[in-house]
Amino acid sequence: MNILFLLEAVSLNERLAEGTTALIAGMGTVFIILILISSIISLFKYIGKSDRPHNRSDIKLKAFIEAGRKVEPVHTQDDLELIAVITTVIASSLNITTDQLQVKSFRRIRSKN
């Protein structure tokens, strides 16, 4: 009975040692690899500067905001926020990112009452 108990204890100790090794080696490897990738990616911003996207939606949005400024300067900030909010909500519900959406037109409708 004592021998059995001893064997079980040894086995448990071995298991704990195995678990500790995997925990340290595993988390260590995961962190090292991801930190390495993260460090390399953080250098991307320097490449990115010369190649910033000026996609059509950005240009259109800017043009729209400019036009909005000329016509209704009071609402510009509100409109910009509103467009951002609407775009994010639509993107969220469609499970896509906001850069895949293009705001073509945006019109305020006056309340009837």
Binding site: L34, F44, I47, R52, P53
Partner: protein, 436 residues
Amino acid sequence: MLERLTEALAKFIETSGIYWLFNNLHLDKGLDFNYIFAGSLGNILMILVSLLLMYLAIKKEFEPLLLLPIAFGMFLVNLPISGIMEHASTQLTLDGEMVLLEGGLVENGIKYAMMLAQNGVDYFETAKEVPGGLFYYLYYGNKLGIFPPLIFMGVGVMTDFGPLLANPKSFLLGAAAQFGIFLAFFGALILGFDAKESSSIAIIGGADGPTAIFTAIKLAPHLLAPIAVAAYSYMSLVPIIQPPIMRALTSKEERLIHMEQLRPISQTEKIMFPIIVTLLVVLILPSTTPLIGMLMFGNLIKVSGVTERLAEVASGPLMYMITIFLGLTVGATTQAADFLNLSTLKILMLGLIAFAIGTAAGILLGKLMNKLTGGKINPLIGAAGVSAVPMAARVVHKVGQEEDPTNFLLMHAMGPNVAGVIGSAVAAGVFLSLYM
């Protein structure tokens, strides 16, 4: 005539599922649960579970694309003597006697030769392959490790790594959330599973179905059924499991934090990312090649901008086709006789603990990063470090909006979320290199 009719009717009844249900109640040995669940009561229980999962998928919309095929696969396989998951067998006639061997003709080739040589038999009269059930063949996609990397390719197409590129610190949150995996490994070892089994069970904590299946196939194929079911169930139940942990570990002030807008990402950066990640990860952990390779390939065909049709197929028809096959066959592994046992219960419990700890570890590192950056990071996004994409990020967004409807955390949470996908694949790679 009447006698023949009665005989035919009796035979018809005896071969029906209803007869099987009543004839296999297994109540003659008292409360021996293993014996009881191997009978029709086990099937009935699993059918009820499948109906519950169908309800959750249809009514509550918990990852219905996955949960519905899994639930229906479970339903079909537990209908008595449906034979849909029946393995192929070979029928031999030896000296007028019929012998049935498990496996097809090819699989049995060597076996026959050895058997014939041992028994001194020179020949057998006939050898006929009896085909297996539909799901038995579809299941080969899992068994041979084909479906998980193909799913990863579709995920790669559908994933926008932009938020991660804009905020590379997100990688740390994706790494922290893998803590649950390694702690569950510890727990599984203590509960008596061996190292290979424990590794496969622990990966459930990554909330990443394809990675969990891939690891289980390589290390503990006999546990594939409960592991796949647990992984996909927890992925579907992210909206139920995560929010209480998120609320418990963060203060209202922390949940209200608005994060700065992310910088725009150039196409060159987007193209370089999959190539560099593949290069680095595969050079360090070659065992992750099928998963990381296909994930990054999927992403490359999308961001390159020149292979839109390939991207469409990979993320559309192919992805959905594989999802149907994978879901149905994963569900079909839950035959009551094999599935209802103590070890399944332990696996489900360990998976849940791993997932909860992973979520908590992500949030805690988020809190630490929040302190270090002077309150610029909302700790909630750490919860998205588990790799259930994009469900975990959506849950973060939702919990953030409960406090402040003008707080849009979705894109910020996508960073740790996709880092989690890479993180769990790396964690799987660690286990594969340690124990395969």
